[in-house]
């Protein structure tokens, strides 16, 4: 029965193929098209992720599995072959007798069965299974056409504006950190500004809002004594970790660069504010209120449509908007150059290895570089996507400025498209901005919690720290020996260093050599550091030549609202003379380091002391979130790097 079984197996495979083909064509194709249409529509209307398109392929594995696992009787398959070749059930009967011999005791019956089986074997060996089960693709029907039409309709739906969906964040369970016994309430009056900004974040129902609510709750419990500082810090860190996870997902889902979109929206807002008819929309957009801006622009478009006198104003506004968007879209960033440089360096490092480097070190270094290249590539792609989005908005604005082309209401539709696009772009940048603000809020809250309740001890530590820093800034080591200094060499004032916000007794400063000295001055500082120069609005210190007028620096941490003309502190301009022959100054260290890639040991020391002081200040002072972020970013940028040579 070998030939019969072989033939039946071949026919069975043909049956499976034919079933699958038929089902693919009749059921799978229209279903897949319909699902694709739904997926595209969802993608375009609801901003679903692109992965939803994979659902269109869902019918195919299902059908394949059905075709493979569908129950078929071997007898039926044999009957099919018999029927096709007009064998009068010969193969099927022979197969069945092989499986279940007849119960007759008549020897002639057994003999007939043998005869039948030999006839079946002879017949089966010469039969072709292909014509038995023809595999044909059925002709398309109206359902296929309807499904195809649905896909077409879905494709022509307006393209979605990128909407990054951020997963919801669950607030941490504070009970996990709350001790059974109550704690002494902590005074958190310093946290009032933070609370205010956090309250502004709540109420939106997104991750930022939930996190802000979580921070407020933690601060509240700390203040009421329901949490101690350690538990509050642990809770904040848990929030921070959860937010970091969310940011990773947000980052992965981002398609356009939110920073670029945010800048562009601000430019657009400025252009719109310049015209009366779009002023309200511009204001709303400047405050990242995309929906309000959209509504205001639509109102403006309707007004312009109804009143020809306003039409020109709207067209001028659209003209300006198009220019602003064109500028924003054309703005070059350093990402492409950085990417080229990173890729070049990676290729070079991949090609040659450094002397004395172990394979593990080399592998780590290359992996780090690869990650960097990957990040830059992603960023570059996002910037390109943002640029394309801005170009689309620019086209919409230009259409609106030209009157929207042919057809009644075309101008209004162009404005509405622009308004929608601006709303989406604004919404996306707002999401990023809110997440950033939330992270700043956590940082600030942690800082507040750290110093809460330390009172006198902390103040003492701060004073000592500040003193050490002032000495270091003057180039004096703790043992009194001269060291490197960031200051321009010159005369150093005498007197005790004063902390920002600390009231002190003014003392006249005098240089060691009796000449006027140079020093730092905090803008708006109430105390006076003897020897400090007068404050200016310029940030950074500079020495003019080897001898001259010192211009004091503006402390980036100082209150910018302070009146620079305030002479309540007695300030005195001093002349300094460059100090020569006292070794390497800190300025030289930094300058030299910058030429060598910020990689030498001296620079590392300088950086460590500066960074520690800055961090201490951030931890102990009320610093606005934006400033806090700028400071941290600055120190990240000037961080010591690995040796390049």
């Amino acid at each position: 029965m070998t030939a019969v079984r072989g033939l039946l197996h071949a026919v069975r495979r043909r049956e499976q193929l034919a079933d699958a083909t038929f089902a693919f064509a009749r059921l799978g194709l229209p279903t897949a098209l319909a699902l694709a249409a739904i997926a595209i529509a969802t993608l375009r209307l609801a901003g679903a992720p692109k992965a939803v398109l994979w659902i269109a392929f869902a019918p195919f594995p299902v059908i394949a599995a059905w075709a493979l696992t569908r129950r078929r009787s071997w007898r039926a398959t044999a009957r099919r072959v018999d029927h096709h070749y007009a064998l009068a059930d010969r193969l099927g009967s022979a197969y069945e007798f092989a499986e279940h011999p007849p119960r007759s005791e008549d020897p002639r019956t057994a003999s007939i069965v043998l005869l039948l089986q030999s006839q079946a074997e002879a017949a089966a060996s010469g039969l072709d299974p292909r014509p038995v089960v023809p595999v044909t693709i059925p002709a398309p029907r109206w359902r296929d056409a309807a499904a195809l039409a649905l896909v077409g309709l879905a494709i022509v739906l307006p393209a979605p504006r990128a909407q990054v969906l951020v997963p919801r964040l669950s607030a941490p369970d504070l009970r996990a950190w709350a001790p059974a016994t109550s704690r002494t309430p902590v005074d958190l009056s310093l946290a009032d500004p933070l609370r205010q900004s956090l309250r502004a974040l709540t109420g939106s129902g997104d991750v930022a809002a939930e996190t802000a609510a979580g921070i407020l709750e933690i601060l509240g419990q700390l203040e009421r004594g329901e949490l101690d500082r350690q538990a509050a810090l642990a809770a904040l860190e848990a929030l921070e970790q959860a937010l970091a996870d969310t940011e990773v997902q947000f980052e992965a889902a981002l398609e356009e660069d939110p920073g670029m979109l945010a800048d562009a929206m601000q430019d657009l807002a400025a252009a719109l504010r310049a015209h009366e008819i779009t002023e309200e929309a511009g204001q709303a957009l400047a405050h990242e209120h995309g929906e309000e801006s959209e509504a205001a622009l639509q109102d403006a478009a309707e007004s312009a449509e109804a009143d020809p006198s306003q039409r020109e104003d709207l067209r001028d506004a659209m003209q300006d908007a198009a220019r602003a968007l064109e500028r924003s879209a054309g703005q070059e960033t350093s990402t492409a150059a950085a990417l080229d440089e990173a890729e070049r360096r990676l290729r070079k490092d991949q090609a040659e290895s450094k002397a004395g480097e172990t394979p593990q070190e080399r592998e780590r270094r290359l992996k780090k570089q690869e990650r960097r290249v990957e990040e830059l590539r992603r960023q570059h792609a996002r910037e390109e996507a943002a640029r394309r989005q801005l170009e689309q908005l620019q086209r919409d604005a230009r259409d609106a400025a030209r009157g929207g082309g042919a057809g009644q209401g075309a101008e209004r539709r162009s404005v509405e498209r622009l308004a929608r696009g601006a709303r989406d772009a604004s919404g996306q940048s707002r999401q990023a901005s809110r997440l950033r603000q939330t992270r700043d809020g956590i940082e600030e809250a942690k800082s507040i919690v750290r110093r809460a309740g330390q009172k006198g001890d902390a103040q003492k530590r701060r004073q000592q720290q500040f003193k050490r820093f002032a000495q270091a800034a003057k180039g004096q080591k703790q043992d009194g020996k001269p060291g490197s200094t960031l200051l321009v060499p010159g005369e150093l004032g005498e007197g005790e260093p004063m902390m920002m916000g600390e009231e002190g007794t003014p003392q006249p400063g005098s240089a060691d050599d009796g000449r006027p000295g140079d020093g730092f001055a905090d803008e708006g500082a109430q105390g006076e550091d003897p020897g400090a120069a007068q404050p200016t609005e310029q940030d950074g210190s500079a020495g003019h030549g080897t001898e001259g007028q010192g211009e004091g620096s503006v402390d980036p941490l100082a209150d910018p609202r302070a009146d620079p003309r305030d002479r309540s502190v007695r300030l005195r301009d001093v002349h300094v003379e460059a100090q020569r022959g006292h070794g390497v100054s800190r300025a030289e260290v930094i300058r030299e380091s910058s030429q060598r890639g910020f990689a030498n040991e001296d620079y590392r020391d300088v950086y460590t002391s500066y960074r520690a002081f800055a961090q201490s200040t951030l931890d102990n002072e009320v610093v606005p979130a934006a400033r806090r972020r700028a400071i941290q970013r600055y120190y990240q940028l000037i961080a010591p790097r690995a040796h390049q040579d």
């Binding site: 007898r75 018999d82 009068a88 059930d89 007798f97 019956t109």
Partner: protein
């Protein structure tokens, strides 16, 4: 003997059977024009060892067919014309008084066999005889014996009753009871011949030369054939199919089609399934095949079951054809 030799012998035997049957059919067709299905049905009855009921209007050659078959197989043939005054003794025989000089001096009663003591009996217009007379056939058909004058006598083998009845002329007739109908293996419908067949009939019967039937098979050969037919193997799936078909003729069966559920009072009896399977075997032999197929069963279902299904009052009133019910049954019953 090796299995190859056995297989070759069996093939030869089946081949010889098919050829003999073909010669028999050809011989009968010397005088009968067309009516292939009827001839095949009658031969099926002969080989299956059953009896046939031929139903058709007068003049379609029923009697001629049966006589020709008897001549071709070289068997005894009796024709009994059933009339209302026909008595059972007229069929099975009777005891007659034998005068003394004829019987060696003393008169005595001697059994005189009736026409039923033949191999092939033509019971012409069987529904014209009274039920009493009809029932005289019952024992003969079922048992192959007759009891007369207190003595049971075996009928010659093979024994084949082929009855005819006229479906139109029902006045003064006695429809066969269900029990007796069930004794017939087949109920064969003799249809009116087609145009070409009629022309051929006219040519043959009105011309000078008419065909003569020569005997081509002996009684012994017929008996061998009957044995071989019963040795034909049948697959289990085919047997199950026959059973499913039979059960579907009953209105209470879940597979029963609409016509059966509405118009059938009783479905086919187990004898119907036996008849179907036997007939399918014969059909396979006629075709020279070693085992019957589904197609054989589907062909055999109509003559084997049509007289075993009883319509209800609505079915009779509506004039429902039982063949239509059977066609629906075959349409709904799965083959596997």
């Amino acid at each position: 003997m090796t299995s190859a030799a056995t297989t070759a012998d069996t093939a030869q035997e089946l081949q010889a059977l098919a050829e003999d049957l073909k010669r028999l059919i050809d011989e009968v067709q010397q005088v009968i024009v067309g009516q292939d299905r009827v001839i095949q049905g009658v031969i099926t009855c002969l080989l299956a060892g059953g009896h046939g009921l031929l139903e058709g209007v007068p003049g379609l050659g029923k009697t001629l067919l049966i006589r020709s078959l008897a001549q071709a197989v070289d068997l005894d043939f009796s024709r009994i014309q059933f009339t209302p005054d026909l008595m059972p003794a007229d069929i099975v025989g009777t005891s007659v008084l034998i005068q003394g000089e004829l019987a060696g001096g003393a008169s005595s009663l001697q059994y005189q066999p009736g026409p039923i003591f033949s191999n092939i009996i033509l019971a012409d217009e069987i529904n014209r005889a009274t039920p009493k007379t009809q029932s005289a056939l019952l024992e003969a058909m079922a048992e192959g014996t007759v009891t007369a004058a207190g003595e049971t006598r075996a009928l010659p083998r093979p024994f084949l009753v082929l009855a005819t009845q006229n479906p139109l002329e029902m006045e003064g007739t006695y429809p066969l009871p269900e029990a007796q109908l069930d004794r017939f293996l087949f109920k064969i419908r003799v249809d009116f011949p087609g145009e070409d067949e009629l022309i051929a009939i006219l040519d043959r019967t009105t011309g000078g030369a008419s065909g003569r039937v020569r005997p081509v098979l002996s009684a012994r050969r017929i008996a061998q054939m009957q044995e071989l037919v019963r040795a034909i193997p049948v697959t289990e799936s085919l047997t199950r199919y026959v059973v499913r078909v039979l059960r579907a003729t009953h209105p209470e069966d879940p597979r029963a089609p609409e016509l059966v559920r509405r118009y059938v009072r009783f479905g086919g009896s187990p004898r119907g399934a036996q008849a179907t399977l036997l007939a399918a075997r014969v059909r396979a032999c006629l075709d020279g095949r070693a085992t019957p197929s589904i197609a054989d069963v589907r062909e055999a279902v109509f003559p084997a079951l049509r007289h075993r299904i009883i319509l209800n009052f609505e079915g009779e009133a509506e004039g429902i054809a039982i063949d239509d019910c059977l066609a629906q049954v075959l349409g709904v019953v799965p083959t596997d």
